[in-house]
């Protein structure tokens, strides 16, 4: 009896801010729980999400983000002031904690345990000098062809 082909999802994670690190990891961990074969291709700033030296301290910037919630009315231009990014990051971490969300390192671990294929983009590593040893254990290093080979048979493909 032929086994039914598993559904497949391929995600490109290209951003390294705290807010943009969550969507790929949440979708991937959920998909894996739903028996979907899942891969995330981390490229450019997205590699920070799986960089052990950085992933616990991703930041969110208020500059050019008018959607950023603020306790007081806040002209967006003030986001350029020193200290604004750490402040926004602290605020967002507080909101994340309040809803009992896992941290980025915890979610990365959840994905790896659920057999999500985590791929780090080779040119990004070359460009930034990040070594394979800097990446979370279980991450593989590969190029575009490897991702495309997986994504060509995917039911869902997302660029985040």
């Amino acid at each position: 009896m032929a086994e039914e082909k598993r559904k497949r999802m391929a995600i490109i994670a290209s951003k390294g801010t705290l807010d943009m690190a969550y969507p790929p990891l949440i979708l991937a961990s959920t998909a894996a729980a739903m028996d979907v074969e899942t891969a995330i291709f981390f490229t450019l700033y997205g590699v920070d999400i799986i960089n052990k030296k950085k992933y616990a301290s991703l930041k969110v910037a208020p500059v050019a983000n008018p959607a950023m919630p603020s306790p007081v009315p806040f002209p967006n231009i003030l986001g350029i002031l020193p200290g604004m990014t750490p402040m926004a990051t602290t605020m967002m971490k507080g909101m994340i904690k309040k809803i009992n969300w896992p941290t980025i390192p915890e979610l990365v671990q959840t994905c790896i345990e659920a057999d999500v294929k985590m791929i780090a983009c080779t040119p990004t590593l070359e460009m930034t000098g990040v070594k394979k040893e800097d990446l979370v254990e279980g991450v593989v290093v590969a190029g575009a062809a490897e991702f495309l080979n997986f994504a060509l048979d995917a039911d869902i493909t997302l660029f985040i």
Partner: protein, 75 residues
Amino acid sequence: MEADKVLDCKGLNCPMPIVKTKKAIEEMESGQVLRVEATDKGSKSDIAAFAERTGHELLESREEGGVFIFYLRKK
């Protein structure tokens, strides 16, 4: 309804109730029933979607004083 195992997901938000449900069900035998308790408002549709995709049967889904209760039978 009798459950073979109870999973407390109260206070957790998406995606954790689904991730934990999957882990819990993995450790069970086929035919056994898992009771999941959650407060995430999305869990009602999320658990139903999870059941539909994975083939585990959602036997019951109800709300009791702000807590969503689900019974899933492992396929």
